[in-house]
């Protein structure tokens, strides 16, 4: 009798755990903190193909999914440039990737990307995910969406996913610089304390 109850309890537990572990949607796919990021080869605005393995001396990367047409992305452009200027010399360059389908967003096509990079003076590669195969691997859902990677012997480890900071409107009113804190921690050999943040952004157009 008590065995039956035990079995019943176990069955219940299995059901309950199952119910709670079933993903509510498929949007949560892509890299999680601690995952190894795969390299890619994407076309840059200068016509060359760029891979992360090209950066022999890099200690890691600030991979930034961004675009021309999203107002949130545009509001962060200057801060993305500042990140690259500050952290590329320290071994963590910005790699910007434009993930949108350009037939839906012509304002994000290669010509427009070249123009935007030139007028803003981008100091980093601005790559196009033309086949839209890279952003799903990362699990990027919107622009801007940042992934800080750290180069280790076992590969490029995803150390931070999320927003650049906590105030999209006003760079001077920012309280917490999430990406800077993450990269600073990596440079100092410390653990990244705030590994994930959420921010509003424009859905990547597929």
């Amino acid at each position: 009798m008590s065995k039956t109850i035990k079995l019943f309890t176990v069955a219940c537990l299995v059901l309950i755990i199952g119910a709670f572990t079933t993903p509510e949607n498929n949007l949560g796919e892509g890299y999680k903190i601690g995952d190894i990021a795969e390299d890619f080869s994407l076309e840059n605005i200068d016509g060359n193909m760029v891979s992360l393995s090209d950066y022999k001396d890099a200690k890691g990367f600030i991979v930034t999914f961004t675009c021309n047409t999203c107002p949130y992305a545009v509001m962060y452009e200057d801060r993305i440039i500042a990140l690259d200027k500050k952290y590329a010399p320290k071994g963590y360059p910005v790699i910007a990737i434009m993930p949108n389908n350009t037939s839906i967003k012509p304002g994000d096509n290669m010509d427009a990307m070249k123009e935007r990079a030139k007028s803003k003076g981008f100091t980093f590669p601005y790559l196009i995910d033309a086949k839209q195969e890279v952003f799903p691997k990362f699990g990027a859902t919107k622009t801007p969406h940042i992934f800080v990677l750290d180069k280790t012997e076992s590969g490029l480890i995803v150390e931070y996913i999320g927003a650049i900071d906590d105030n999209y409107k006003d760079a001077s009113a920012v309280n917490t610089k999430y990406v800077e804190n993450a990269v600073d921690a990596l440079i100092e050999g410390n653990e990244v304390l705030q590994k994930e943040t959420k921010a509003i952004g424009c859905t990547i157009k597929v």
Binding site: L27, K169, N175, K198, I200, G201, C202, T203
Partner: protein
């Protein structure tokens, strides 16, 4: 001859004056309508709208005028509201427009599209603190929609067609 000329000039003059007055009046009404107060909240102010416990089914859509897929699906939310407002369904459109565009973009958009659903505006920069309070799985991309009543709630980080939206709503109607 002279009298009739004066008369005509007078008439034309009156027409012009009245025309101008009318136009001015119309402009005044325009301005009055545009000045219609937006309901603007930070997240603490918005949250009660997401947690009502009455007998209504709430369809809450997070959108912005700068978000093309949001604008595309907005008419479906309007249609849904028109079809179901008499069945205890309320549609609330939560705008995430930027404060500097409330006057230049949001108000003209609301007017131009003659939006009938309830519109509230969320102005809260600390999105990392409030996005998980809307739903723990929300990455922050819009459009995003919540349908809830006092018994259950579903979150959708996706765009809808009218049929998809109606199907989603029907799960909450008995």
């Amino acid at each position: 001859m002279k009298l009739s000329t004066i008369r005509i000039v007078f008439l034309v003059g009156m027409l012009l004056v009245f025309g101008c007055l009318n136009k001015k009046k119309a402009q005044l009404i325009d301005v009055a309508e545009q000045k219609t107060q937006l309901e603007i909240y930070d997240f603490d102010g918005l949250e009660p709208i997401l947690k009502k416990e009455d007998n209504t089914v709430y369809v809450i859509n997070f959108w912005a005028t700068w978000c093309a897929p949001c604008v595309k699906e907005l008419p479906y939310f309007e249609d849904l509201y028109a079809s179901y407002k008499h069945k205890n369904v309320e549609v609330i459109l939560v705008s995430l427009d930027f404060p500097h565009q409330y006057e230049s973009k949001l108000k003209p958009f609301i007017k131009e599209h003659d939006l009938k659903s309830k519109i509230v505006v969320l102005d809260d920069v600390d999105s990392n603190s409030w996005i998980p309070r809307v739903n723990k799985d929300w990455s922050g991309s819009i459009p995003a929609t919540i349908i809830y009543n006092k018994n259950k709630r579903q979150f959708y980080e996706q765009s809808f067609t009218y049929n998809e939206l109606e199907e989603a709503l029907k799960k909450f109607l008995n």
